[in-house]
């Protein structure tokens, strides 16, 4: 940022455009010279991976929308037509359907990265809250997209989720009727879900632009969680990070392609290949895997309104995280106690996800209740207290200090590499 200077363009057309609309200067500033902390690891690639996933979802979604028909009589058949008759329809649909899962994988890793290295702390609070809004927009988009094939899980998932709003006293039932546009999930519901499923990704794109803009104001966090002290602590975005992110994207796409080509329905539910039937409820309604922890929280509370509030609260609490975590030290590397609780939280999220996939009875209900209690305990009680009680390890003076001084106070073996010409 500070060392950025106006680039000189040789191409006269570029020069002509740039003097009237400085897009090339802006690109150079944000994606060529932009200084990245030199010590970022591969976990920092998941923002770029999530961005690539959004582009893939919009591109495949656009062509799928050209073949899909949002009408309860023909929606299921139109999806089967995409699978059987449309050129490469099977590929586009599997890329899109598995892409939703990959998008959530990338975003969840990205979020846990932020949790581990304290990327939500000052001055990045708004950046983090924009991320929470992105998660909410993704969840709404993914939920509505799952309704579109109009299979049994589509219909009953839509019924259960829209009925969540009936938990609110007085306004609940009119809201649900308004969401449905009728007296049950039916054709008007499918139509509006399709319209919103098309709209929301562009809202998401706008949020991503704001998220990136906010990131480029404060600069990226790094594994040490300390601010770069000068040019010796950073490398230019291009080529260092473009190449590193590019490699990570390729590895991630291989993982993604493995699902698309070898297990395209592994992450889906077979009941969604049964056309929707409003008179028969599947024996066991489960949402897609990325909603399972939240679904477990919903079912863990024995009260309907309480369950709904807890589920939304589980996301709202993330938005309040910058103020709930009272520790001034960002990175878990220097917080020996919080580091252990971080991993307990990660395990708790997985356990909740597993409990969400199981029937809500017996031992699984108990597991979900303990998991839910721990989740809120972590954010609402543990984090505010830990910031005051924990004694953090001493921070290094700068990002390059532990490397150049041959160790220092952090284990620097992993970072030991020759320094470039500064």
């Amino acid at each position: 940022m500070a060392q950025a200077h106006a680039p000189q363009f040789k191409n006269p057309v570029v020069k002509w455009i740039d003097s009237r609309l400085p897009i090339f200067t802006m690109l150079d500033h944000e994606y060529n010279q932009y200084p990245m902390p030199r010590n970022v690891n591969y976990l920092w690639a998941f923002g770029a991976i999530a961005g690539i996933m959004l582009v893939i979802m919009i591109a495949t979604g656009l062509v799928l929308a050209m073949q899909y028909a949002a009408n309860t009589h023909i929606a299921f058949e139109s999806v089967e037509r995409i699978m059987r008759d449309v050129n490469y329809g099977w590929l586009l649909r599997y890329v899109h359907a598995n892409g939703a899962s990959m998008f959530f994988i990338a975003v969840y890793i990205h979020m846990f990265r932020g949790l581990y290295y304290g990327s939500y702390k000052a001055p990045r609070e708004i950046l983090w809250i924009l991320g929470v809004l992105i998660l909410l927009a993704m969840m709404a988009t993914a939920f509505m997209g799952y309704v579109l094939p109009w299979g049994q899980m589509s219909f009953w998932g839509a019924t259960v989720i829209t009925n969540l709003f009936s938990a609110f006293p007085l306004v609940g039932d009119p809201i649900v009727t308004w969401l449905w546009g009728g007296f049950s999930v039916d054709n008007p519901t499918l139509n509006r879900f399709f319209a919103l499923h098309f709209l929301l990704p562009f809202v998401l794109l706008g949020l991503v632009v704001l998220h990136t803009a906010a990131l480029h104001v404060s600069g990226s966090n790094n594994p040490l969680g300390i601010d770069p002290k000068g040019p010796q602590d950073t490398v230019p975005f291009n080529p260092y990070v473009t190449v590193k992110d590019g490699f990570a994207v390729v590895v991630f796409l291989i993982f993604y392609a493995a699902f698309v080509f070898f297990a395209p329905n592994y992450l889906g539910h077979p009941d969604n290949y049964i056309p929707a039937n409003p008179l028969v409820t599947p024996a066991h309604i489960v949402p897609e895997w990325y909603f399972l922890p939240f679904y477990a929280i919903l079912r863990a509370i024995p009260d309907k309104l309480g369950g709904v509030l807890a589920m939304f609260g589980a996301i709202a609490v993330l938005a309040a995280l910058p103020w709930l975590d009272t520790s001034k030290v960002r990175s878990c590397k220097f917080r020996p106690i919080y580091r252990q609780f971080f991993w307990i939280l990660a395990i708790d999220a997985l356990v909740l996800g597993y409990a969400g996939a199981m029937p809500a009875e017996g031992v699984w209900l108990l597991v979900a209740r303990i998991g839910t209690a721990y989740y809120f305990f972590h954010f609402l009680i543990l984090l505010p207290l830990l910031g005051k009680l924990e004694r953090p390890l001493p921070l290094p003076a700068s990002i390059c200090e532990p490397v150049l001084k041959g160790g220092g106070r952090v284990a620097a073996g992993a970072h030991a590499k020759p320094m470039e010409k500064a």
Partner: protein, 189 residues
Amino acid sequence: MAQTTHPPGTGAHAAPGGEGASRRDFLYLATGAVGAVGVASAVWPFIDSMNPAADTLALASIDVDLAPVQEGQAITVTWRGKPVFVRHRTAKEIEEARTVNLGELRDPAADDARVKKPEWLIVIGICTHLGCVPLGQKPTDPRGEFDGWFCPCHGSHYDTAGRIRKGPAPANLVVPQYAFTSDTAVRLG
């Protein structure tokens, strides 16, 4: 922007006693209020267009012939896109429904307040928890611990009057609006 709305002088309340400032405040408030009403009335058609349309509302009533339904049998009819359970109750089921102590119920309602003729129980077949269709219409279905219906999604049990007895659902199965048009025919809606 600030320069044009607050030209030098007015910001210093040139009028005696601050009269000019309060008049300006009033104009701001009045303009804001009119603007808010205008925005609200312009937004309302967009919001209301998402409510049930006239043709959806027009499909709101149906006639059901009860003659073929024998005692102990049940039928499911679709009304407003929802399943409606019509059960021809046996004497035992009616007796079970009537002898319950209302104080024990989560959503207290007497059996005779939920039926028009004791042998015919008509309820909307949607669990009041999260909208699944409870089991219990077919002879082979589980009917729960109270001989009525059992919702497989989250385990709610309903009795022979469609009242919630156990599980997460907060309320009884809803009794739709209906009227007997003859001894063996009923109109829903």
